[in-house]
Subunit: 318 residues, 5 copies
């Protein structure tokens, strides 16, 4: 195993060897396996945004098997999806790609204070051969406590059973403004909350230079925390997750032009982000294009990781 | 064991030996171990106030290991933090400092009637080697019953498994005014409620001379309860916790000048307070300065405790 | 065992021998043990009203052990208190006085529709050696169902484990006026509800001659139910609790002059009340005075009970 | 409570107040209540030896209610019996006498390595209002482990629910000779085993001067342990139960002449035994005679206990 | 914490922080705390050999409190005993000495294939504030599987709840000869079995130069494994426990002369043993003599441990 992966695992000392094994499975898999960076394919948009919005731009994606194959072909570290999508391919692709079972999901039909439904179990994750559970929390929601508490119980169970825990921490709800959802102070706060709740891998949105909370604004100013560039903001968010001792990755957001994506990826990599989780920008493109894009993204991250080059050169298998 | 610690343990007769052992572990540890006084380092502000507000003034504190080391270097009796912070260091620092796992936490993003989420379990506390669970209640909140009832269940389980129970009793919510949160009558009431709920160690804020409740005001006047000085007010609060037969400690509050802190500490010590739990005023200072401050605070308390001098002189190990 | 106690136990045929044993323990204990009457010391005011309002008039009462000793010295049938107060003395006074663990409590800080928090469990009662659980319901509260349903579950568990059930039935909340809280029709109704919920011992407030419900007023008038004197009103309330086949006792209310108390006690005794539960009027007086008052109250009740005289004359121990 | 009972309870520090309360109930009840000595009526012979052998000599004893009344009339500290016998009278005599529910029993029909069947539960004891569970172990039996392990589980549950634990420790089975069953070394060993298993009250047979184990014989000789008189042997057995810090009582054995019984009782009392548990010698005599005998036995023990005289003189009720 | 203790803890990476904390508590406590060596006082002989054989030579030991005090006065790392002995002192000595609750025990009365009874639970260990559970296995017994399987279940539970596991591995039963019980091949095998079953600390008897198994004898000869001196044999046993990466300590055996004891201790220390667990040779001597002997033993071990001298010189408290 590369020194860098070993170093990362050392941050989770105290977790049992099963958890470490599953973290290592994801960190060591795919084109940049061993670099300490991760590029993950997530496909929960069918549930979250509806099928037409998600799959009509590239109808091959209506078939759940498409996404397994895409993640494999693109050499991703892992593939994350809700219960139904994983059940529809986990047998066929067993052993081909680390899986993350997303255990809660929202649809956009109900108009409620944001709170996803728990749609899977830790036992489902074991049954499907997943390496990790995934879970979304919405800091800022009036229903925050329900999510935190559900996560706490699922995390305890997952860890006891040797699974890793990946948390989507997306501020949302009556407590934050629309701009505040991606404000740099709020993004850092969201990363901190996920880490305090015991997450091993934390997914946040790329932060903007907006500052939502007046009390935080005073501190950013007084302490001269630089937030002018995306790299600076990413650095703050990564620091907010236990001084960089938790794996923080960034979502790709809505579909956009390739140059915009790559600029964002470079910013994240420069700021010390641990990788990306790229959904719509992958599966809404034609497959060859998507694979090429994901490779390009991986190359940016591999360049930032000292172990990656060695590994790629040596052709060492995970 | 010092006579004073034995006397304190006698107040908890009826608890099982495991609970007594863990109380003793905290009372006996650190620079003033054995004096019957306690100085605790709590670091839950990352969760409660956000990482920038908490750690930017002294960025070393973004790293969870920093606080373990600070508590050790400063000779504190214990270190209290939420799940993620303890998980991030409990293996590395195993056996070096008694731990208190805070089992519920709030963030400031959601705008709800104050109610923390339960973010850990008694089994987590055992798994992490903690001596005690910590829990926050907000008397005055419309969600009070949820907190009291969660605490009741966690307390029963913790005691059955030999752990001590530390309660943060912070009046807050629609039932109390801003001034009322630290009013002397409310602080005494908060201490009483925590004691009635079965807490072994109770943490309240230093009380002001404001009186919030009209019915209480009449009694304070009629009975000539002195509240002119901090020491007098602390005495009332300590008396309110079973006539001083529960360990009541006081929070340090927001960051302030050292002279102000020390004046407050002397007031607490003079009034019979059992110690302090000093977060921001510790970890937001440079480490050497923080250690010096905590030592100075400990010296004040040690001076107030008859067992302390003996112990320090005799160099007796815990 | 006296004939009267045996007769009272016969009202609870169908309950298991454990429940009967614990009812007998309370009925047989103390100065009027065996008379079929009960005088109980309850001290939950520290939680319900705050410590200063409760204990400042007689500061010895800040110490939980004071109330155990007071109940013992006064020869009460039982002592009732919340978890913390019982935990603080149950080991030291083990076997000296029957205990009632109050399983729910309110504070006056939160401004909510009246609903106490559940603050203890049936297993706590067993662990502390209590003879009974106590529980408060607020008929008239919009949160009534929560309380009734919690009581139902706790009652089922307590009875299965051989404990007696004492219910404080205090009309309160948005459904009743201030005057209605002690109206004679409402007091009778409160006693009936507690009995229907399975209570063995029911505590209500002494009723006034106010009638709260118009429909009830018509019946009181049509049926010429006498309510002119306290004795008459007490008779109605006792009749409302299964025609006197449930033990109904009356609270002492706020502190007042001794003559007023004794006049009230005589009214209750004359009306067939089964006894009193006297808190503030006991522990807010100096101890000797409190003991003398409680003895005087007991003497009134003992005079009203045919078994009492025999017993006191014969000096039979329980 | 008498100083002596309080002293005895102090030996069980660490047990919860419920356990202490139930121990106190037994120690404080009856004619010698408060003396620290106990005389208990046990009637399990119907199960253990069969009804004719047990009850034909005094046919009134076929009726389970007879034994409740006998224990009450004789002023015993407690009455112990199997499930059926207690179920047949516990409601009628609720509150009149502390009960011990024997949770395992053997009959003499099966020819097996000695091992009683578990015939009741801790919840049965609660349901019947018992103060304690009783349990028989047969050290020396090849089935020893089953008994020890059943006892361990029942003891843990009983203590958690506030009940005391009384253990009949009767060496028997393929590992000991007939003479060895009452050998002084084996009796001491049996008392030690019961104490190590967590018993509060231990019942053994009066020891003879036979020594069963060769290794023990060497020690008795080398250390000059006196075993010439019953008092000396009782002293050794009591010492063997944690240096006298567990309540050890002695069985009466088979029916015999009154003078023989009283001589034995005097020996036990002189040797520091805590009392007797007298079955056949009580209930196989006519009732008046049995009551007189039990009173005489109690008088011997009361004379040996410093608290007893005070208590009897003062007429203090338990 | 000393480097040596940290090194020892590193052998148990993968265990949760609670287990590491409790191992550290024992390794850090007492006169040689921090040296990586351990001297433990075990007192289960009352159960295992009977009270007279155990305590008559020094009758103070009949009182369970004596052994707590002896372990404290002698500065031992821990005190190990069965349930009853720990229950009889754990409250009084809470916090004074790390405790090991022995969860199974045999008496010598039954004549059965060796198999102890399970006499306590993991929850008992938590309730009593113990750092570890202790458990005896008898490799060579026909009932071996029962013991191994009970141990496996208890170990899993203990570790999940943060407790350390100490295994007494004593070959015995129909599968080994009397000489074979301490044969060097069998002792090494016993240590290996305990380690494979998940033990953290392993207790074996000092090995003789007898070789029990013919197949093992061939290997000892072929590989020229030196077994001429005790030090050589101890080295083989320690190597057999994961190449010295498990803490292996040696029993003191039956009472003997001080010179014989010290010669044995020097052999164990020279061979790399981690310490001793000395029962009869401690508590059967007069207390002052026992304390002196235990100090002398500790001095031998401290001299063999690099951390010990530093620690003792610096007077660093655990």
């Amino acid at each position: 195993m590369s020194q860098r992966v070993r170093e990362i695992l050392s941050w989770y000392a105290g977790e049992n060897p099963g958890v470490l094994t599953n973290l290592a499975r994801m960190l060591n898999h795919g084109r940049i396996g061993g670099s300490g960076k991760m590029v993950i394919l997530p496909v929960d948009q069918g549930f979250e945004h509806g099928p037409a919005r998600s799959f009509a731009p590239n109808p091959a994606g209506y078939d759940p098997r498409y996404h397994f194959q895409l993640a494999i072909d693109a050499g991703c570290n892992a593939y994350a999806a809700p219960l139904g999508f994983l059940e529809a391919g986990a047998a066929e692709f067993a052993g081909d790609i680390p899986l993350i079972l997303k255990l809660n999901n929202s649809d956009t039909l109900a108009k409620i204070e944001p709170e996803p439904a728990v749609t899977g179990s830790v036992d489902d994750a074991l049954r499907l051969g997943a390496c990790a559970i995934g879970f979304t929390i919405y800091p800022g929601s009036g229903s925050r406590n329900n999510m935190y508490q559900e996560l706490r119980e699922l995390t305890a169970e997952a860890k006891a059973k040797g699974l890793a825990v990946v948390v989507w921490s997306y501020p949302r709800g009556s407590g934050v403004s629309k701009a505040g959802e991606t404000a740099v102070d709020v993004a850092g706060y969201a990363a901190q909350i996920a880490a305090q709740l015991g997450a091993h891998v934390i997914k946040v949105k790329p932060p903007t230079d907006h500052i939502e909370q007046p009390d935080a604004a005073k501190v950013f100013e007084a302490q001269h925390i630089p937030i002018g560039t995306l790299a600076e903001r990413v650095r703050h968010v990564v620091q907010s997750a236990f001084d960089g001792r938790r794996v923080v990755i960034f979502s790709g957001g809505e579909a956009k032009a390739k140059e915009d994506i790559m600029a964002e990826i470079r910013g994240i990599a420069e700021g010390g982000g641990f990788g990306s989780i790229v959904g719509r920008n992958s599966f809404q493109r034609p497959k060859a294009e998507a694979v090429a894009l994901l490779h390009e993204i991986q190359d940016v991250y591999a360049g930032a990781g000292t172990g990656a080059a060695d590994r790629l050169l040596a052709g060492v298998a995970s």
